[in-house]
Amino acid sequence: MSMFARTTLDQQNRRVEWLVKTLFLMMTVLLIVPVVLIMGILIQRGAPVLSWGFLTEVPTNGMTAGGIFTALIGTVWIVTVALIASVPIGVAAAVYLSEYAPDNWLTRAINLAIINLAGVPSIVHALFGLGAFVVFFGFGRSILAASLTLAVMTLPIVIVATRESLQAVPHAFREACWNMGATRWQTIRKVVLPNSISGILTGVILEVSRTAGETAPIMFTGAAAFLPFLPQGVLDQTMAMSLHLYVVSTQVPDVPDALPFGVALVLISMVLVMNATSIAFRVYLRNKRKW
């Protein structure tokens, strides 16, 4: 028997290897398949409701008929205001953490705060929004209060994505720029940010997706169950897609079975399309990157 022939132990190991690999693959599949099936059911039962009218008409008959126009536009308002508030702060925070922050207790505290902002339950963010923006700052129940609540909640998404893309820019780029006599900020503005802008954008898209889907934080801060008209400004209340799904599936009697499926389908399509865009963008960038 040659030295390299397979021993019984080898064969046994191989069998175990195959078993383990298959087991883990099955676990992965079992994690994904139910969700894919559920999506299939959502599409099958929601698709018949979808039409151009569903997207462009306001809800009628106590929300048992008509479309979702006011909720869609409301979500666009909430997301836009939340982005205006959180993107500048998030990018600034990421620039600080990536370009300026020394390795000290304060930086550690900031990182811990970011983890906690992401980890605090959404309903606690709702209580914060109510206590701070609605009551203390006196914005009342409004788009502004709801959006600021969501902005605080989704800040970690922008910070983490931006920090990662800033850190992906090689340090040599910065050194080359400093050697030309540029200031720290000139270096960041002319070299670091342009090289990471697309990475920042993927983070922003993720934030949009998250903001559009959140329900609890806006329930008591600015989203209304039903409004027959569109908001005129940031101090108005508004309907929103996520809350609309909750309301038509739990609060309203005699809703046709298919209607909430339609709402869920539109909401989930919005979210998944944005996430897929963000992922595709990231893959494209990774392939394009020259360093």
């Binding site: 290897e17 994690l31 339950p121 309903i123």
Partner: protein
Amino acid sequence: MPADVQADALPGSIADDFNTRGRDWYVDRAVSVGVFVGGVSAIIFIIGIFIFVTREGLGFALGTLDLKEFFTSMNWRPTSERNPTYGILALMAGTASVTGLAMLVAVPFSLGAAIYIAEFASGRMRESLKVLVELLAAIPSVVWGFIGMSIMNPLIIDMFDVPVGLSVLNAGVILGLMAAPIMTTIAEDALKAVPDAYREAAEAMGATRWQVVFKVVLPAAKNGLMAAVLLGVGRGFGETMAVLMASGHAINIPTSPFDSVRALTATIAAELGDTARGSDHYGVLFTLGIFLFVVTFVINLTADIVVKGVGKKQ
């Protein structure tokens, strides 16, 4: 100009050039202050959350509330006219049972999936699985709640022949499916953080793949995996809409997975809309908020410490 260039040490004429504190210098200063403010904003916000939630709830928590009753009574009757009681024992049991079942579902599967994706899958397969898992994590909680009500509910009633399908089982499975992708992603990161040299050393000794995984990678990634589980628990504990819609929302200490329960988070979401600011009911819901905040803070802090422990060793 980089801050560390010592202008004073340079010959006169050059030093003069460097010493011109022109517009660029001031802009640079202003920006460094601006980004610093952005940086500490995360700390300001987390403190702000604590302060504002406490501000609305503390008066009640210290004044009217009997803390012993709060944690040990299972009677949650905040709207009773004559004798309102505020016991959260049943609500804690609801949260614990749903989160527990969710972890039972999610922990083995997400760790298994993470191991497969990080250690066994390769190339296109790995990339597709990662993307799929990431997409699963993006599904909003209200959609999960709706799935629990409209798809899982009739399914459970049919399969187990029970009268109600909104229960610990329903909410637990939904929550498990929700938490699994996040735990998979974090666990996979933890496995990736194990240096390849460890794997190579084991393989050079003749270890097979699964031996490498079980004897080398898993022990080395232990802390990161624990953190992944902890963050999953935190996620389950804090989840609101899905649990509100799928658990049946009945005050109950469950004795079987088919019992309806009510979670701490769901209670706030369901009742806050009906309370007047300053009332006892309003106060007790904010007290619940303080409790939730503190518990999740501790969970996140623990996860952070567990992960940092690993960082020191390597």
